[in-house]
């Protein structure tokens, strides 16, 4: 019974994604990762000259931790979103409720399915790419195996930690605040006493360095505990509350009257607020990933000047800020507008406005980061870089995906196009900013192609049938 449910969920997940994005494009995703890693492995000897092997391992560990956090954040919160989008009926996790199985059991299967799925999609191809390249670059044959164990556990730790935090979040918000405070306090204390050596205490990383059994066991425990606690804390959420809400939409529509389409913008904000995604999403899909990126980037401080780290961070923050577009597009299908006189381009315009309002969050975040890291001198270029890349990446997403930016994560063709369209300006502008930080302000010129891309996007998506899911 158990295996059957699990197996059917896997099939369902595959079909869901492959019908949305075309199965070939989707199947190519792991192949793409494999290819990229395989080829970049050959650059490793070059990297080694500038970057000590330990730092490289640290960065890769950071990437996989981040991946776990993102999959956890997007995946678990994201699945919630998916359910809304496809209607609860369409997902097995929901229809299985009519089977004689406990909610917790179904949910455990659901989470395990997600884990296996993303392991196959991301972690396996990564390690395989490296493993295949390793004989050519003089890496000992056992190392890929160790890397595999370490990265899998790192990924799982990120996922299980987020899973734990989001379960706590759904149970009690004050408890989450206390846990955050405690973690920050411990991390701060540890940072003061160990410095950047702190990261080496992370057991999956120790496993990679030393390859000992205790490190392996410790890592497994590190993954298993938050996971088990979360499953134990899980409370099935029964829909069908008859809670009453007073009319927020009408007053908000009035307040947003300076917007081009006040009711549409008001609806987006009400959706975000009521879905409870607001705060959770800011924490899990924005602050936490960026915090991690900042931590791992600070490793680079040994190699490049501080301001360079800040500017690269500003660009990264810009690209991550652009993912807020997915927050405001995931709540409604076009179906809810299909019976109204609203065109796709109107809707996109309105989403851009809502997006702009949401950018207050990263704007404040960037100012705070710049100030506390002592980069106040570079506040203007940092803000220019962040802002330019946020809106430019948004325009690329709109052009490539219209109102369904989630496609980006899975469709290889679209993802490649995104990487090229964003990657090239990133490199050019970072190079400029490294010459003189103030040249980074030139990034604002990206506004011109951004407007062009959005215009093209309107034309492109207006001509297509409205998404029928």
């Amino acid at each position: 019974m158990g295996l059957e449910l699990f197996g059917s969920m896997m099939k369902e997940e595959w079909r869901l994604h492959s019908t949305m994005f075309g199965s070939l494009s989707f199947a190519l995703f792991p192949v793409l990762i494999f290819g990229i890693v395989f080829m970049s492995s050959f650059l490793l000897p070059l990297f080694r000259a500038v970057l000590p092997a330990g730092d490289l391992a640290l960065i890769i560990t950071g990437v996989f931790l981040l991946l776990g956090v993102m999959v956890g954040g997007f995946g678990l919160l994201g699945n919630e979103v998916m359910n809304r989008r496809f209607g609860q009926m369409s997902l097995l996790a929901y229809s299985a409720r009519s089977l004689p199985l406990s909610e917790r059991y179904i949910f455990t299967n659901f989470v395990l399915k997600d884990i296996v799925y993303y392991l196959i999609l991301w972690v396996f191809p990564f390690v395989l790419g490296f493993a295949v390249a390793s004989p050519f670059i003089g890496v000992p044959p056992g190392y890929p195996l160790l890397l595999f164990a370490s990265l899998t556990l790192t990924f799982l730790f990120g996922l299980s930690a987020i899973f734990f935090l989001s379960t706590v979040y759904s149970r009690s918000k004050p408890a989450l605040a206390i846990i955050f405070a405690a973690v920050l306090a411990i991390a701060g204390w540890a940072y003061l006493s160990y410095g950047t050596g702190l990261a080496d205490l992370f057991s999956p990383l120790q496993l990679l360095h030393n390859g000992t059994w205790p490190a392996l066991i410790e890592s497994c425990v590190l993954v298993a505990i938050p996971f088990a606690v979360s499953i134990a804390l899980f409370t099935p959420e029964y829909t069908g509350t008859s809670k009453r809400f007073s009319n927020l939409l009408t007053p908000l529509t009035g307040k947003l009257s300076f917007f081009p389409y006040p009711p549409l913008a008001a609806k987006d904000l009400v959706d975000l607020w009521r879905s409870g995604g607001g705060v959770g999403q800011v924490i899990f899909s924005f602050l936490l990933p960026l915090g991690l990126i900042w931590f791992f980037m600070s490793v680079l401080r040994a190699l490049v000047p501080d301001y360079a780290v800040l500017l690269v961070f500003a660009v990264t923050a810009g690209i991550i800020s652009a993912t807020m577009y997915t927050w405001i597009t995931s709540f409604d299908t076009f179906c809810s507008y299909a019976c109204l006189p609203v065109s796709v381009s109107t809707l996109i315009t309105s989403k851009i406005c809502t997006f702009t309002v949401l950018q207050v969050i990263p704007a404040v975040f960037m100012v705070v980061v710049t100030v506390i890291t002592g980069g106040i001198l570079y506040l203007i270029p940092a803000m220019a870089l962040w802002c330019a890349f946020s809106f430019y990446s948004l325009s690329v997403s709109i052009y490539l995906t219209g109102l369904t930016p989630n496609v980006l994560v899975y469709d290889v063709k679209v993802l490649l196009a995104f990487m090229v369209l964003v990657g090239v300006p990133v490199m050019v502008i970072i190079a400029l900013a490294f010459i003189n930080p103030y040249f980074g302000i030139a990034a604002l010129l990206l506004g011109i192609p951004a407007v062009g891309l959005v215009r093209k996007g309107y034309k492109r998506w207006e001509g297509k049938d409205m998404a029928s899911f």
Partner: protein
Amino acid sequence: MVMVIESQGLTKQFGDTMAVDNITLSVPQGSLFGLLGPNGSGKTTMIKMLTGQIRPTNGQMTVLGLNVLNDPIGVRKSVGIIPEQETPPSFLTAMEYLAFVGAVRKIPDIDEKAAWWFRFLEFEDKRDVLCKDLSRGTRQKLMFAQAFLHKPVLALIDEPLINFDPIMQRKVKKYLAEYVKSGGTIFISTHILEIAEEICTGFAILHKGKLLYSGAISELSGKKQHLSEFFFSQVQDD
């Protein structure tokens, strides 16, 4: 006779499926026109094309004299639509949804109009409940109200009665019949033949995407035939 809907050779293909196959149809103003047909015969696809939600593979159509392909927004401004799936936005309350539709359609006095609908369809107690927590029947009521909020000259409604209890069905049938008497036109898709026979003035039968028959209900009474007998004879010859 003025025609509010006219289609010529309308065709929609999804991959290998001919969902709607070369349909030429006209609907006169002031009629309550039933689009009948078994599951999967193309009724929903027809309505989606006529309201500019999907583009036909082939063919032309005008709705209220507007070319739907050139001006889908213009068409949707004037008509009222009840989509097949009753999916009001999850996180708005019933009242907020009507206010939203009112704001988008720029309907004056939306509060009073909404209040009338809550009373008429008997769901005042659900005004402030989120749409995702409403029962299917209540969601359908909301979609019904939404479509008629601006008193459209033409409403295209897809299986609007299917989730209603018999009392509500009777109420709504009466409303539709009166709506047409007062000058509106209604294009209704359904496979509940009794409803069609009771209220429709004209009808068309679709089967596997093809138009089998189109005419006035009165033609049937001339032949002393019930709509259901006629429907089965048409659909089964095939």
